[in-house]
């Protein structure tokens, strides 16, 4: 990993559809070199997936998301890893993190409606061993996702020419 690799990651994080030719121009590398670097970072698991940032509210299909916070009793030898790996297998869990503070694990869960999410938490997550407490935080509106602002902003005009 060098400065150019990091630059490639930053660019792909902003827009994973940038073609290799443009990545090469921006980073002042040859196109084959760019492809090689990306392939190596894919193989190393640094680049996991190329995805889109989607404003689902605008798409209007009515899915709901919730942040689920869990208090977990850590296991000897494993800490939180084993429980986290079990939880992570559920399709409904979009992201999963160990966090500091009052709670230990933080999940992002999506479902067709609030009942589905509630049922998932109550029937699948809460009864698991080592889970001591859950809190469900329903997401009402997304303003910003992965660096992309979802609300409308007015364009500011600059002078067309200045010295």
């Amino acid at each position: 990993m060098d400065e150019k690799d990091r630059l490639l990651l930053t660019l792909l994080d902003q827009n994973s559809r940038l073609p290799a030719s443009e990545l090469a121009e921006l980073t002042d590398l040859d196109e084959p070199d760019v492809k090689d670097r990306i392939r190596r970072m894919e193989e190393a698991g640094i680049i996991q997936q190329y995805t889109a940032v989607i404003n689902w509210e605008k798409a209007g299909d009515g899915e709901v998301s919730a942040i689920i916070e869990l208090k977990v009793s850590p296991e000897r030898d494993f800490g939180y890893d084993k429980v986290a790996e079990r939880i992570g297998r559920f399709k409904q869990v979009r992201s999963l993190r160990l966090v500091s503070g009052v709670y230990d694990l933080e999940l992002l869960v999506t479902g067709k409606n609030i009942h589905e999410v509630a049922r998932f938490v109550a029937e699948q997550i809460a009864p698991m061993d080592h889970i001591r407490e859950t809190a469900t935080v329903l997401i009402m509106k997304t303003y910003k996702e992965n660096g992309h602002i979802f609300y409308e902003r007015e364009e500011v005009e600059r002078l067309p020419l200045s010295i």
Binding site: L11, L26, V156, P160, S162, I163
Partner: protein, 387 residues
């Protein structure tokens, strides 16, 4: 009847882009590469700090030289960043943009009849500011085959008994040229031997893409005769805040402060608050913007050379300065026709002095999409020229 307008005001030429400005105003779908300012909005933490201070009622004059808290931050920043040492109590003045700093620097050192050497191609304000002070601007050419740097020989050729000062601007608007330590060291003897003042406009210092910026005053013994000008517009995307600063040894700085207190009173307080926040917490966003400019530069310069406009690789600022010689058009014709035929606005190089002739200035402080579209349009324009 006596004319209302003074001779000096009358004789100052109007800005060379006025004509293009009028043309662009009436056109649609123009991609402008003619802008000398960042396309980013000021980072939000800086805006927040200013908004908060306005809400608290911080809306009054400050001391003439600027808020002590800001001057201390400037001194710390200059030392940490460029090993440049100035005493915040005696040697720094906060100004209304570098424009004001430039004006008072020149008025501080120039008497009527003095000559001031100006590196060319040059930002358009230097020569008029010298004229307003009663001085005579003397251009010295920085050539493309020397990466637009100033050499001791060309400087020495311009020096006369009446030469008082030299104005340099690196990284340079419009060429993107930079000067390293060795480049300045080579000039130092000429400047010292003729007892000249060096006025160094370093507003693009942070926009240095290869290696690190050399502050002129840190080279040899130049500090004692250098006035360093810098500001927040370019590095922190703060053009509208009008905040710059002048740094010089005590005696020079105190003289400049006298002029500043009579013509400006003090720099705008909101800008001073914002600038302080920029220096305290602005590094990360500043560096991200610089990285983005650097990537755009890589993309755009490759593109220019590919479509047949030879362009040296600028090492600083956010301007490309390609030659239009292969087209057979003058820079004025090229810029005018490119605008009317393909709706791309650039600035003819001759606006920046005779030595800019045959070049155009393209600012890459615009989105990558705009740069790509501009390149395709320029390519189409060149294809139409040579069927």
């Amino acid at each position: 009847m006596k004319p209302f307008i003074s001779r000096v005001a009358h004789d100052i030429p109007p800005s060379g882009i006025r004509k293009f400005f009028d043309l662009v105003q009436d056109m649609e779908d123009v991609i402008s590469l003619g802008v000398g300012e960042p396309d980013f909005a000021t980072p939000w933490n800086i805006c927040e700090a200013a908004i908060y201070s306005i809400e608290k009622g911080v809306t009054s004059y400050t001391s003439n030289k600027g808020m002590p808290a800001l001057l201390q931050e400037i001194a710390r920043y200059l030392e940490e960043r460029f090993a440049l040492r100035y005493n915040p109590e005696r040697e720094i003045v906060a100004t209304s943009g570098v424009s004001e700093a430039l004006d008072i620097a020149i008025r501080t050192v120039v008497d009527p009849g003095d000559e001031v050497i100006i590196t060319e191609p040059a930002f358009v304000a230097y020569a008029p500011c010298v004229r307003l002070a009663g001085g005579t601007p003397v251009p010295v050419e920085c050539r493309v085959d020397n990466d637009f740097r100033l050499t001791a020989d060309s400087l020495a050729e311009c020096v006369t008994d009446r030469t008082k000062a030299v104005v340099v601007n690196f990284p340079n608007n419009p060429t993107g040229g930079v000067m390293g330590r060795a480049d300045y060291a080579a000039l130092a003897d000429v400047i010292t031997d003729h007892d000249l003042v060096l006025i160094s406009d370093e507003v693009y210092a942070e926009l240095t893409y290869e290696g690190s910026h050399t502050a002129a005053a840190t080279v040899g013994d130049l500090w004692e005769r250098t006035i360093t000008l810098n500001g927040f517009s370019k590095a922190y995307a703060m053009t509208g805040w009008r905040l710059g600063y002048l740094c010089a040894p005590d005696e020079i700085c105190q003289a400049a402060l006298k002029i500043h207190q009579y013509v400006m009173m003090c720099a705008p307080v909101m800008g001073q608050v914002a600038a302080r926040e920029a220096l305290r917490h602005g590094d990360r966003e500043r560096d991200e913007m610089v990285t983005e400019y650097k990537m755009r530069r890589n993309l755009f310069i490759r593109g220019l050379n590919r479509i047949g406009l030879p362009c040296h690789m600028p090492k600083g600022a956010f301007y490309a300065f390609p030659s239009v010689a292969p087209t057979g058009l003058s820079d004025q014709e090229f810029a005018e026709r490119l605008l009317t035929e393909q709706q791309v606005a650039v600035v003819p190089g001759s606006v920046f002095g005779a030595s800019g002739t045959g070049h155009i200035r393209c600012s890459y402080a615009t989105s990558r999409e705009n740069l790509q579209t501009a390149l395709s349009r320029m390519e189409a324009f060149l294809a139409d020229l040579s069927p």
